[in-house]
Symmetry: C2
Subunit: 162 residues, 2 copies
């Protein structure tokens, strides 16, 4: 896909997320895109992202639901203000809560499709429902409650940032 | 700590979990131990497990809550039957649902302590509450609903298992 992902619009200095940051060299590099009124992402778990042999690790599923939910929330925040993604003042969201239901084991070795739908926008909060589909079946679903990031969190240095 | 962790008792053929498997060479190797009637685990996130610089990635927090909750459930399942951990017939649990509330940003570069408490045991289900404490403050809390693993899931080969 040639078009820019939602995460490609994140400001460089905050684009280090392990799940979806462009500049995290160890990270998962999840990329989310608008598809009509939903956001979609595709992700192929690595062979070592296993729970038990043959099945995807639940923590990995939670992680990509989290990032895709946040990406959807950020894109929605810009969209409802009729603003270009990534323009200042920045609209950045963090996760207040994450809920994941594992409906069936997710087989390892095949791509996962995530679809995010905004279900609520209220003040600084945006709620996103996410489904994880594998081989045509929804194997997990999640809810991400995203809140606009406090300014104080934006530019702190890690004590062991590389 | 010299004593064996809960995960050290998992059967070798299922001990490949990305979060806590002994034999996952890319994994996080979380280790949980009984401490009275709670289970405790300590984990130092890697520098690249970041959300934004200075703070721990929420997906990593969800992942270690998941593994610690499952470890606590497995240990409890053996304990309430007065059986030695790891003995057959195996008692293995998987995550049915995972809920994480992020109470405050979790600083990166310092160890996290997880404490798990069993709150419900009913049939094949065990519910575990987990807190994540950093520098003396609880930064996140989670609930893991664990269910006994179906036999069919135990020994499937991955299509791309290494």
């Amino acid at each position: 896909m040639n078009k820019k992902s939602i995460q490609d619009h994140y400001p460089d200095e905050l684009n280090h997320c392990y799940g979806c940051g462009l500049f995290n060299e160890h990270g998962l590099h999840l990329k989310s895109y608008w598809d009509g009124d939903k956001a979609v992402a595709n992700f192929l778990p690595r062979p070592y992202h296993m729970a038990v042999p043959g099945y995807v690790y639940g923590g990995l599923i939670a992680s990509i639901i989290d990032c895709h939910g946040i990406g959807t929330a950020v894109a929605e925040a810009y969209r409802i203000k009729h603003r270009e993604m990534g323009t200042e003042p920045l609209l950045i969201y963090v996760t207040a809560s994450l809920q994941v239901t594992y409906l069936r084991p997710t087989p390892l070795g095949v791509p996962l499709e995530l679809r995010g739908s905004v279900t609520e926008v209220k003040g600084r909060k945006i709620v996103v429902d996410v489904t994880v589909t594998v081989e045509g079946e929804v194997s997990a679903k999640g809810e991400v409650v995203a809140v606009q990031m406090p300014e104080s969190m934006m530019f702190k240095k890690s004590v062991n940032r590389k």
